[in-house]
C-alpha cells in the first residue's frame, strides 16, 4: 500500500494505490477506506491481486482538501474528471460503493467512453418513488448520548456484528477515526442532504447513456439504500446483468462479505 497526495488544479487529493494491471478507480462510501479507516479493507486487497487499485479520498475526506464550492453531485463529477486527468487515466474500471457508486454512475452517464467496466455496490443516487434512501444524518446522531446502533443498522446487516462495531463504535472511538467519519458526513451533507436525500432526480433518465458492461451488487438486507434502487440501476443500464444480491450482507457488502463480493467483481472484470 502506498498513499500519496495528488495535485488536482491546486487542490490536494489524498489517494491510496495498490496492485498492478489494468487501472481500477475505487470511489468510497461510508463503511469504507478513507471514511472510517486509513488503510485498505480486505476487499480492496483482494481486488489489488488483479488490478491496479486507485482509491482517492473524496473532497474533504481524509487528507483531501475540502472544497467549499461543492453544492451538488455535478460539482463532484467535475472534481473527478480532473482527478482522472491528473492520474492520466485513459480508460479504466470504475467501482463505487454507496455515495461512491452514485458518483460512478454519474461519471459513466456523462463519459461512457472513459469507462471499461463499472461496478456499483449499494449505490445511492437514484430517485425511486416510494423508496427513499434512509436518513443517515439523523442516525449519525447518537441515541442515549452514545449509541450508534441505528446507524450500524443502516449500514450493516446487524447492528451488533463485529465489523460494524469496529467501524462505528458506541461512545467515542479513536479521534482520527471520528474525524474521518465526520468528514464523510460533512461532504455528504453538501450533496446528499438537499435535495433529500442522496439522489439526483435526472440521473435515472441518463443511465441509458452508459455503454460499458456493468455489475450491480447489493446486500440482502440493505437498511440504507432500498433494494429497488439496485434493481433500477440493473434494469436501466443497458449492459448490466441482473442485480446480484449478497446473502447475509447489509448495505456494506464489501465489508461484510469481502470474499464473495470481491470474487463477483474480479470475475466480472476478467470476463
Amino acid at each position: 500500500m502506498s498513499g500519496r497526495i495528488l495535485d488536482v488544479n491546486g487542490r490536494k487529493v489524498w489517494l491510496l494505490e495498490n496492485g498492478g494491471g489494468a487501472p481500477l478507480l475505487y470511489l468510497h462510501g461510508f463503511a469504507d477506506v478513507h471514511a472510517v479507516k486509513e488503510s485498505w479493507l480486505p476487499f480492496h486487497d483482494l481486488l489489488a491481486k488483479n488490478s491496479r487499485v486507485i482509491a482517492p479520498a473524496h473532497p474533504g475526506c481524509a487528507q483531501s482538501d475540502e472544497n467549499k464550492d461543492i453544492d451538488t453531485i455535478e460539482d463532484v463529477v467535475f472534481h473527478y474528471l480532473e482527478v482522472i486527468d491528473a492520474l492520466k487515466l485513459d480508460k479504466f474500471d470504475l467501482v463505487g460503493h454507496c455515495l461512491g457508486g452514485w458518483i460512478a454512475a454519474e461519471l459513466a452517464a456523462r463519459h461512457p467512453e472513459k469507462i471499461r467496466k463499472m461496478v456499483l455496490i449499494g449505490a445511492s443516487g437514484l430517485f425511486v418513488e416510494g423508496a427513499l434512501i434512509g436518513d443517515i444524518f439523523m442516525n449519525a446522531q447518537p441515541e442515549f448520548g452514545s449509541s450508534y446502533a441505528t446507524l450500524r443498522e443502516m449500514l450493516f446487516a446487524s447492528a451488533n456484528q463485529v465489523n460494524a462495531l469496529a467501524m462505528f463504535p458506541d461512545g467515542k472511538g479513536e479521534i482520527e477515526d471520528e474525524v474521518r467519519r465526520y468528514q464523510m458526513l460533512r461532504l455528504s451533507s453538501r450533496i446528499g442532504f438537499k435535495p433529500p436525500y442522496f439522489y439526483n432526480r435526472p440521473l435515472r433518465n441518463r443511465l441509458h447513456r452508459i455503454s460499458s458492461p456493468a455489475l450491480v451488487i447489493c446486500g440482502e438486507k440493505d437498511g440504507f439504500v432500498p433494494r429497488s434502487h439496485g434493481e433500477t440501476y440493473a434494469k436501466l443500464i443497458p449492459n448490466s446483468g441482473e442485480l446480484k444480491v449478497i446473502a447475509g450482507a447489509g448495505h456494506s457488502a464489501h465489508v461484510e462479505k469481502p470474499e464473495k463480493t470481491a470474487m463477483l467483481v474480479t470475475e466480472f472484470l476478467a470476463k
Partner: protein
Amino acid sequence: MQPVQLFCWHFMAYPYLDKDFDKSGHSGWVTVPNKLWDNNRARGLYQEYIDQLALADRLGFDGMVLNEHHQNIYGLMPSPNIIASALTQCTARGKIVVLGNLLPLHMNPMRVAEEYAMLDQMSNGRLIAGFAPGGGPETFNYDVPSANTREKFWEAADLIVRSWTDEGPFTHEGRYFPLRYVNLWPKPLQKPYPPVWIPGSRSPSTMIEVAKRGYCYFLSSRSHGGETHRAQQEFAKVLEDHGDKYHPFRFGILMSTYVAETDQQARAECEEGVWYFLKNCLKGHLRKEGRQLTYGPGVPYIPAAAWREYMKGYQPGRKLLGDVENWEELEASQSIIVGSPETVARRIGALIERAKVGNLLIQFQLGNMPDQLARKSMKLFAEKVAPVLRQDSAKQFTSEFPGINIEPSAQAVQ
C-alpha cells in the same frame, strides 16, 4: 453606568402533553407527532403567552425576548416576527428582542431585513435584531445542508445590515444570495441600524465574526457554571484582539428563574413546570434520552479541524441539562434559579458579578407552568429581585468599567 438589563424571555412551549409523554419514546423535536396538538386546549394559548410578555413590559423589564423554532413542543414560534408584531401593539417601553431569525432557513434574507425594518418602525425603534444560524433540529426541519450553514449565515447577516445602511438600489453579488435589486422599503427607524445580537456557544470563530462587526454576543448555553465566566473572558479577549473593549452590554446570557414568597414555596409551585420543561421540552435537544439533535456528526456544521478539537474533550454519555435526576443536580447546573426573592437575588447577583454580564435574558414560564404562577413569579421578581440586581450591578459595572459610557435606558416603572 447603567445597571444590568433584565429581559423576559418566552419560549412558548406546548404545555398540554400527557404525563406519560416521556414514556412514549417520542422526541420533543422534529418528529414529535402533531396529532398531540389539541385544539380544544390550545385555543387562547398564544394570547395567554403574549399577555405574559405584555405584563413584563408593564412591570418594567427592559425588554421581551422571542426566538424561532420549528416542529417541536419546546417553542411554538416558527415565526417570532408574528409575535413581535403583536408586541408592538400591546407594549410601550421595553425592547423587542427577536433572537433570532434563523437566516439559513430563508430563501431570501431580504424578507428578514424587511420584516425587521417593519418591526422597528411599528415599535417606534424598540427592535433588537437577532440573527441565528439555527442548530441541528432546524437542519432537519428545513433540509439545510450543514456544511455551508455558517457561510450562508454570515453572508445573509451582512447583506441585511448593508440593506439597512447603504443606499438602494444596489446589487449584491453573493455566493449564496445573489440579488440584482436590493432596495429596502421601509427602512428601520434606529440609526445607523437596530442593535444586532448573535448567539453562540463559545466557538471562537463566532466570537471573532461578532467582534469584527461590533455586535453583541449572546451565550446560548443554558447552564451557568464556570463556562459562563470563561465565555465572557474569551469574548473580552477576542474584542481586545480586534481593538475593541469589553463592557457588560456586549454580552448576554439565557437563564431561567422562579420566584415565590419562600424557598420551599417556590420549589413546590414550580416543580411540575420545571420537570415538564426538562424532560419533555429538552428531549431531543439537551437530553441524552432518545436522540439529541442539536449537535453532533449528523449535523456537521463546524469544520473538521474544529470537530477534532471538540472530540478531544468530548465525553460520550455526559449528562446534559435535561438529564438531571434530582433537584440538587438541577441547582448545581445554575440553569434554573428557584427560590425566595432573597435567594434568587443572591444567586443571580453572584452570576452577574462573576460573569460581568449586562444582558440577562430570563425565562419565567417553564414547560406547563400555569399562567397565574408565571405572572406571580414575574411580579415578585420585578418588585423584589430586579431592584437589588440593578443597584448592585450598576455599582459593580461603574467601578469595573470606568470610562465606558452606555446610553442609559428608560428607568424601570415599578
